[in-house]
Symmetry: C2
Subunit: 245 residues, 2 copies
């Protein structure tokens, strides 16, 4: 069965966390919003599902995934579903809740990364909230990146199965998501992230190890990978970045 | 087995979504941080778990739940775990993902409700970000409450099993969480919420129906329920509230 992935065309966004899992799994999927309207695809086809008056439980927002009749919304929820089906979750059921807890903590940080450029309202342009964005971005760099990353580094360090993966002794989807989070932060805040490998060597090694996985490497080189850009969660606005120790 | 629930003493916060599920389930649980240090409980006992250097995967933040050796972090994750074990999730497995997707959408709105009073930094006092808070709170009232609540009302309306519960034909934990979200908004924004039952009759009915459930009613009357207050996510700052149509 080919999955249908629904996410905005033109940006990595939260969809990217799902794409990385699908690519690592070698799963077949169609990106509905990036397809052609002549094939019944495109953004219109995505909006039709969202606006449907007959869908039993319509999604609030992309990304969402269709697997046959089942429509699954919310990034962490999609990954929870896919992980178990594609060997990207621990075999031990109880550890799947550990993975999901970490994934939701990544999701919290992703939301905070977004809010660095939109602290007052997602309805307003960045240009209309630049001063507030600078306050929030610098707080994010000074307090939130260290707090979250110190925590994730600790999770690697305390993993009883070794410090290569966040949970257990094999790759799970949360490792892919951690790569994407770090990768996005490198793009958005290159000055603040200069000292990242020094402070968080295990996380930096995890990031680099994911980059070298054959399927991820092939995906990142393909035109399926959309480049980082300023329509996304991770935006590079130099005035929000700063050096750190 | 008695669950151990870990959450900050003195506020409802995200812990309340878990408490409501435990109470409706009639499950036995201990509130670790609210207990006495002489019994090995209290906030110190909670911090000891968070700061533990031997915990296989320590939690980033409360709430977290211990069920024997298993430590589960993140509100939606705890509820996913409890729901299946206590008849508060659909019997059909695929619908559990639907419930989880809605729960995560509620979680997103809860974060936005928090950020109405802390748009610039959770490290700063409210008093130091009042102007920004007013902009964000009014955007929340004008745009985000309608967007989310119109959506949740639609979920009730389109539920093939009827409009009494969000998913299926029986109560699940996401209905309890929806009650709590609406209840918190009533507390924080009484002026903005005056027209809520007019615009969202199904959600208002769901809220009232949860209030009347015997175990919830008994819980809300007990001293286990902490009153709404300004240490919480849902804070009543009159200057952030406003009338709506």
């Amino acid at each position: 069965m080919t999955y249908e992935l629904y996410y905005w065309d033109g940006l990595q966004g939260r969809g990217e966390f799902v794409r990385l899992a699908l690519e690592e799994a070698g799963a077949e999927y169609v990106e509905v919003a990036r397809g052609d309207a002549r094939d019944g695809l495109g953004t219109g086809a995505m909006m039709a599902v969202m606006d449907s008056k007959s869908e039993p439980c319509p999604p609030f927002a992309p990304p969402f995934l269709k697997d046959g009749d089942l429509l699954i919304a919310q990034t962490a929820n999609i990954l929870f579903y896919l992980g178990a089906r594609h060997g990207l979750a621990p075999a031990v059921e109880s550890l799947r809740y550990v993975v999901n807890g970490l994934q939701l903590t990544i999701a919290d940080m992703v939301t905070e990364a977004h809010d660095t450029h939109h602290p007052l309202a997602s309805n307003l342009y960045y240009e209309d909230q630049k001063d507030a964005a600078k306050v929030r971005a610098h707080d994010f760099i000074d307090h939130r990146i260290p707090k979250f990353m110190h925590y994730f580094e600790r999770v690697l360090k305390q993993n009883p199965a070794g410090d290569t993966y966040l949970v257990g002794d094999a790759l799970t989807y949360v490792d892919l998501s951690m790569f994407q989070l770090i990768d996005g932060l490198y793009y958005a805040f290159p000055r603040a992230m200069k000292t990242f490998p020094k402070h968080y060597p295990r996380l930096a090694a995890l990031h680099d190890a994911v980059l070298e996985r054959p399927r991820i490497d092939a995906y990142l080189d393909s035109d399926r990978r959309i480049a980082h850009n300023e329509a996304c969660i991770f935006r590079h606005y130099p005035e929000l970045d700063k050096d750190t120790r």
